[in-house]
Symmetry: C2
Subunit: 329 residues, 2 copies
């Protein structure tokens, strides 16, 4: 009899996520109720926000101890009580880190012809985050300078390319010379800064001589401070995430130069992509056009095996990944 293997939350992380935060178990297959379906999970979306869900209540309640790790994922319907989700179709939703999941009305059918890696990256939450965060919150104008941190990551790499498509000068910050070369040579960034080897503040100043009009920040911490220090008049800072700080075991002080937001008439604004899901199709249509036209490239960093999901999550925090981290079951 088939059992459902799961990776569950054993304890909440304090500081760095350690292997003992996770446990594995095998339970009976869940049974879909009315309107629900049972899926065999094929792919998992590995996102920095999972660290937050493991630790505490944020914009969603914390994962319960003993429950499977909450995670987006793709699954193939193998048993259906819902005509909208026939057996054989592929759904995106919150599958969690497990082999089988029950999914319900909030799931999205992935159309035939869309590769799972694209569905989980450029056409998934990552692509939508880049699209709405940059265009709706940052509101860049052609000719402006856009700075992106975490630029070789799943979101940052798409942000920079959209900014380029919209006619902006684009500067990325990433953690290796290889990533920087990829940003400039493959993705069309105008410049890239290696934060591990360069003085970030000086490098931003050199790469953005007229200042930063839009700073899309995935990182927080010192890099956020360096971005604020180089803000152009009426610059906007899009707070997408703060991966540099997620593993802190105590709150760290924020940027010491917030008063520059006053003198520069700056705006700093956070957002959560869940608020934009009702407008997803609008974004996906435009993203698909860019992908088809060859203007927008996406990279994936695939890790094989459910049991390696914790390792895959760790790649985000060490910066090992280039593009979207995905687990293939």
């Amino acid at each position: 009899m088939t059992r459902n293997r799961r990776i569950t939350l054993a304890k909440r992380p304090v500081g760095q996520v350690t292997p003992d935060c996770f446990a594995t178990d095998e339970v009976e297959l869940p049974t879909p109720g009315p309107g629900e379906v049972l899926v065999k999970v094929g792919w998992l979306s590995i996102d920095p926000t999972i660290r937050g869900w493991m630790a505490m209540d944020t914009y969603l309640p914390a994962i319960e101890i003993g429950a499977p790790i909450r995670s987006g994922g793709l699954g193939e319907v193998i048993e259906s009580n819902n005509d909208a989700y026939p057996v054989g179709s592929t759904l995106f939703g919150m599958t969690g880190w497990q082999e089988y999941a029950v999914m319900g009305a909030g799931s999205n059918v992935i159309p035939d012809g869309i590769d799972p890696t694209a569905a989980l990256s450029v056409f998934g939450v990552t692509g939508l985050t880049a699209y709405f965060g940059l265009l709706d919150v940052g509101r860049p104008v052609a000719g402006e300078t856009v700075l992106v941190s975490g630029a070789a990551g799943a979101t940052g790499s798409v942000v920079g390319q959209i900014a380029r498509i919209k006619g902006c000068r684009v500067v990325g910050i990433a953690g290796s010379d290889e990533k920087c070369a990829w940003l400039v040579d493959e993705l069309g960034f105008d410049a890239a800064i290696n934060y591990r080897t360069e003085h970030v503040g000086k490098a931003i100043r050199a790469a953005c001589p007229t200042g930063v009009d839009v700073f899309f920040d995935n990182v927080g911490g010192d890099i956020l401070e360096a971005g604020i220090a180089n803000l152009a008049l009426r610059g906007r800072i899009v707070l997408c995430g703060a991966i540099a700080t997620y593993n802190d075991d105590a709150p760290r002080p924020g940027p010491s130069n917030l008063s520059l937001l006053i003198t520069q008439r700056g705006r700093m604004e956070g957002f959560i992509i869940l608020d934009y899901m009702g407008r997803a199709n609008e974004a996906i249509a435009e993203l698909a056009g860019w992908v088809m036209g060859g203007d927008l490239k996406f990279a994936v960093d695939v890790v094989d095996g459910l049991d390696n999901a914790p390792t895959a999550l760790d790649r985000l925090f060490t910066g090992a990944n280039q593009g979207k981290v995905i687990v293939r079951l």
Copy 2:
């Protein structure tokens, strides 16, 4: 022969503004050029931003060593080369800390019937700062909760009253029980917090049970952090000033909880009132209506004598003032 007594910048402040930052001198009366007028200065507007101008380049160049302290003020025209500014009229402009000043095309005539204290406070830069900062940047909606720091100051006291007029619940933060009583009993605030005797974070939570929709912050530092901690979903923080930090001799770390801007979809935005001067009449018309109707009160803290201008400036930083600090020459 009449001489022009001035208070000049002797050295730039490091940390607290000390008496040796100032010098006095007497020079020949300046001569107005074509289009200019000579005024006898009657009143000075004492504002926290003067501390910044003394120290360094900000949104305006730093005051030069040996030059009179830059300051708004009112003067009566005693010699005119400009028909728009006849002898006997009262002008508002950057008089500086001196007995006589040459003023030019950028000056504003104060209409007859407007008291100098009103012209320098509720109808001056202070009132405009409150008006545009709250309504244009903070954008409160009737029924929302507005929190104001530095609430008994010139700007904060007007901000809170405008918010009340616009149908908001208003909570002020000030530095004495007497000021708090004044905010509630005289100005119609719904609640007031004494930051010297109360735990500000807990007091905000108690006074704003549904969170803070708009936080108009004049103070910065720990009070800014406490406001962020209580931000409602889609809350806005208007950065008007950071008087708590102006006397720091080194940059102090910022709020450790900026990631709440992400989870709460918050916006933090700075502004400089100079950008709104073209729309001043729009604000003054509405402010005048409220003053005439008895809905909007203003308080002034008058210090007599040019030589006491440094003492008057100090009142802002010790929090001795209630309302707008003005020097009467």
